[in-house]
Symmetry: D2
Subunit: 411 residues, 4 copies
């Protein structure tokens, strides 16, 4: 094990500095041991922590240290900053130190010099004539400038959180994962779903009609067939769209395969509803051999329980829909007991409803094309959640693909 | 040829009734000949049109007629409405007439009866006792109700556009195509791009950095390699992200392949910029064998001209960026002469700029994850445009796939 | 009356050219008489119209003509274009002709010259040496350039709508009203509401809980008290929020007056629900003297009928809420008969539901902070609608203020 | 002083439990002293804290305790839970304990009983027959049910943050302030601006043209006149819109006062640009007595420095605009030195640019109608920021009003 002793001062709890340092070490697969911790007794007193950071290679350790130094930690033993001359105008040495937007000091000739004009993503130039240090954009770099390289001898001081009680300013914590490309996040979710299924856990899906209208009901049906769906919660619209597509190949009258308008297609939505009324239920429609594919079909064939809760905008609603809301809530609460994860796909109403029924240990995945919807759902105090701003038409096929790849690798 | 004579009265020009009827016939691959047209001389006078609708099969003709009747046209020869009894409660006959939300009449016993309580997507019940007709939701249908079936003897009267001069209410025209699943729209665009390329036309792409960050720069590069891109317009960020990815495999410090954070990865963005400054230009970076893939690489290898226009938020900006905006505008106008289509992908600033430089005959495709951006770009008076609310990470691979399929079929 | 004879050729119906010309004349309070109209018999034949435009002042006529010329019309009698020299570099004559992005010709020396490089919002420079005309940005204007001034001798040709049947490109029509500042649109709506009330018409309001949470329930209550609300449609949440605010001064536990957290305030939401259950209904709560202000209070005091329809996410729901959706739909349809206008305020679910129950002659106002919601609601084929992307907290007070000003002026 | 000793176990740092407890105490104006703190040495070891919470009234102390107990703390001395019978069906005792969605225990008969089926905002029913406790919705409460009241004897266990290193799930921390009505947030900002000005601090404004187009340039101008704006950063469009409005009373050709279209108004945008070119600069236009009001006028009259940075979409751009971006960046960095607060109003481009130039101690206020824009700007790692999703047309007048009220009170 490679290790380094570091320390950090400040409002470590308040300003979440220690939380972020712990996070960083663990995110980068390092270990830590706390050697010393003194907590500020009152709100205006500083705290102090000293810890050993460990990693299984020097390279990994360096990478961890670099990050935690940016969060305000520093090595217990202070070293001199390293400087290297710029070889030409507008060019930095390869190993240049890249700045944060936090207050920054360099340790030069045995004393700390504050870097002036600090900004994000620039370099630091030390001026020996004035004995001052400046943050400079690349286009201002002149040949011969002494530029800070490596990570030694640089100290960063994150801002203290304003503690006035009435402050409306949010204290932003950088959230590395929020910047990940959607495709990687989906893969992680696929992995998690695979593991939950493996352990016999329960995954519920709450979905809106966009899951059919965007042309991905095949992917959705496959997810059910493969056993990843413990139960389905939806409204009348999802079922009607799914049945319209299964019976007539259209969604709101448009041929899903080629996007053309079907003959008298605008009636298909109501025809699908009429067919369910004629049969008496979706299950009867399957039994009569009329409904032979799709999301609802797979639920019935695979004994996946589904709940269709009515809402005021329903056409019909079809007989399977629970039209009394108090009854619908009761049955939702019953069915959601013990679920480990809920996928909420393109439905505001049912997602909020289900979210309110979950305890804080359930993992929640929110997928919607609309940023405001995702923000609103994540703002509700759910604890372990991830929001994906994406078309469900893109999300579901990638999710199912990813699951199949993981199965091929691991099963 | 199968044909039918129809007529229509009203504010045909004002309320766009005739435009929609022509549209509908042509959308459904029919033909028409105008037999008679009398225009209202002043704004409060009605117009009248009589035309023959033709199609190459009776089924197609029926489907066209059904739609134009919903737009307000009616057959010159009036026929009696057809009625059929409901076989049980909450069930309509299979061939039920599905209502619009426009004023509607049925022709029964040689006179027109207005349908009461008209609403969208319901059925019409004729009550012989009162000699009245009602619009009814399916759950209100009783066994034995006389329900209108087929399309004969039903007349629809679209609302007149309010002509008060000061009215803020927009007159909505239903736009069937806006409801098509994204995937079909992308296929149509692919077809159009294929045809433009075939005819020697020019397709310009305006793109923001999301095209790299979402992990689809390979699809983008392929589009260039295949010869579909006449020129590329972008900013510093697209180029820097692309070069960061090509040189280090990261985007803003994250490994694009697996979504993990690279060691000292947060420097990669600035390192990429530094590399271009060291080489002097992107072209030099390619010549030195350092840049060997990606969007910018393909542009240089395939002699696709690119313009990188500076903006205030640029890091660097790298030497290839035109930092004087007046000069940049001049070169954009020069390069855009004669383009047939522009794809605007996830960039507000450059899309608006390019949009302002286009004449009204250029086709424009706007792709953005954010509905408000798409709305804003389409609101600018551009003429032939299509907006797609989608993740560029989903759009580009599907577009390139679709193009390849078309090539395989048609080349 | 001042008048001018104009004519226009092209796909006047298809490309909506004539619709836009009629619109423009009426929007600018002019009159017109159609002198001649020949319609293209088949889809690829041109139409032709000749009309007289009239206005009550020369200035108004000029302004109308200027606009209709930009839409493709031209005076029957052709006049020479007027040219004026630029007095210095980068400066246009005051009366410069400002270009559209449509194909444009100038009539010079008895022949039409096409303007090259046409773009929006530039000027036209005629070069006597080459006898050609160019569209130029202001920074390219040189001293002495011959610049087109006034509106004479300029002809604009709008693009023809692509008529291939399979085209996904929308044909955009510029919508002047969409660019009006929100405040003016709200004033127009206030005027319309005033007129509807005056005539004994009916205005329904559909509203979500944001109407309380944004602190504007006083404005809402005033609107009811003043008699502008024929009926209120909402969900459990609006009523509960309103009652929480009226009983405890909080909304979700926060003091609405000063934004501080109330003591044990997080319970207030559930306490409000408990109070209604204890009383048995909202009306009982008013009768018992416990509920003395707010939206629900005003409804009861002023005999304004309200419908609270349940949805799956409801807390409670309180006894007044109709928990069976089929019953709720029935009562909504009943209550909505004969309404003239519906205000849909910050609620997706109830707005779609109500929208589906309206006939096409009802005016609809959609207010939401979220552009995507507004777009979605307007996309549903409702006919006379206006969408306002705004905070309800800003909309309602301005609306009530505007109504009061109109009352003071006109009553 | 009233006080209470409390303790808390768990991953206090990792899961931010202690941060939230400190926050809660300070948000509610309490005090605390840490008596003991033992940190978990490694990532899987628990931490432990014991502290005294103090407040200046028993009521305030109770309110603080109630909140911190919901965050996982508990009194050092355990007390029995209090139970009260429901007086009728569907009714809770007034003092009912309102649940969180975290794991919850009640202390009854000297032992902890876990509450089953825990959900947010319900009550807890103890069943003496089975000696079990259940979380129940109000409609399930039966007369005689034993319901937990008050806050004693209830223990909440927040979920532990998943520490697997690869997890994409965000750990949500409830953010009370994000739920405050906009109007209160604006008042807090007004207070902050007042204080900054009082102390001689610097407030910069970055604004887009919506500030003129929404009809609130008068409020903006007043803010400058009152001395609250240290410097203005904008683009060509803000200046041109402002000058168009000042010279012609229009914004993009529409009369701002009444929303009607001005005669030949579409030229006004370009005419305004032409006027500045004729004068040579905005300052000259003021000196010549042509520009007599508005945002730019006030800047010049009050010696408030402004920077107009070019962007590719500019019409003109007018002479005052810095067309070279590298030069513009340099001057922005210079002018932003030492600012205390930046208001970013309805401009993505300039806001990101300015945000990148700030150090982490600057307060940032982001105002935009578009949630996605606000989210994107706040996601950039700025530290003390508040995002407001609102129309600038609503924001600016309320802000200026609030400032004036504060001045009247405090000056």
């Amino acid at each position: 094990m490679f290790e380094q002793e570091i320390e950090v001062h400040g409002h470590l709890i308040d300003s979440m500095i220690l939380t972020r340092i712990f996070d960083t070490i663990m995110d980068l697969n390092g270990e830590f041991t706390v050697l010393d911790f003194k907590i500020g007794k009152a709100k205006d007193e500083f705290s102090y922590a000293r810890l050993i950071v460990k990693a299984d290679s020097q390279e990994k350790l360096d990478s961890i240290l670099e990050e935690v130094y940016r969060e305000g930690a520093s090595p217990v033993k202070i070293e001199e900053v390293m400087l290297e001359r710029a070889e030409k105008d507008m060019t930095m040495p390869d190993d240049f130190y890249s700045t944060t937007n936090n207050r920054t000091y360099i340790y030069h000739n045995n004393r700390w010099i504050e870097v002036e004009d600090i900004m994000m993503d620039k370099c630091i130039v030390y001026d020996p004539n004035s004995d001052r240090a400046y943050c400079k954009p690349i286009r201002d770099v002149k040949m011969g400038d002494l530029i800070v390289v490596g990570e030694k001898g640089v100290k960063v001081v994150p801002p203290e959180r304003p503690r006035e009680g009435v402050d409306v300013f949010q204290f932003m914590s950088s959230s590395a994962s929020s910047e990940r490309p959607t495709i990687h996040i989906i893969r992680k979710i696929a992995k998690d779903m695979y593991n939950i299924k493996k352990k016999g856990g329960k995954i519920a899906i709450v979905a809106g009609p966009a899951a059919v209208h965007t042309g991905v009901s095949d992917a959705f049906a496959k997810l059910i067939r493969k056993g990843y769906v413990y139960c389905l919660m939806a409204g009348n619209a999802l079922a009607v769209h799914d049945i319209e597509y299964a019976l007539f190949g259209t969604s709101l009258g448009m041929n899903v395969n080629d996007g053309t308008l079907a003959v008298r297609g605008h009636r298909n939505h109501m025809r699908a509803i009429n067919e369910v009324f004629k049969a008496g239920s979706i299950e009867n429609l399957v039994k009569q051999g009329k409904l032979t594919k799709g999301i609802m079909y797979e639920c019935i064939k695979n004994n996946v329980p589904f709940l269709l809760a009515a809402s005021l905008r329903d056409d019909g609603p079809i007989p399977d829909v629970i039209t009394d809301i108090v009854e619908a809530q009761k049955r939702h609460r019953e069915l959601l007991k013990g679920v480990d994860m809920v996928l909420m796909i393109s439905t505001m109403l049912h997602s909020i409803a289900v979210g309110n029924m979950l305890n804080a240990n359930v993992k929640v995945v929110v997928v919607d094309i609309n940023q405001a919807m995702v923000t609103k759902l994540l703002d509700r105090g759910t604890w372990q959640a991830i929001g994906i701003v994406s078309d469900v038409g893109a999300f579901l096929p990638i999710l199912v693909d990813s699951i199949e790849k993981i199965e091929n690798e691991l099963d």
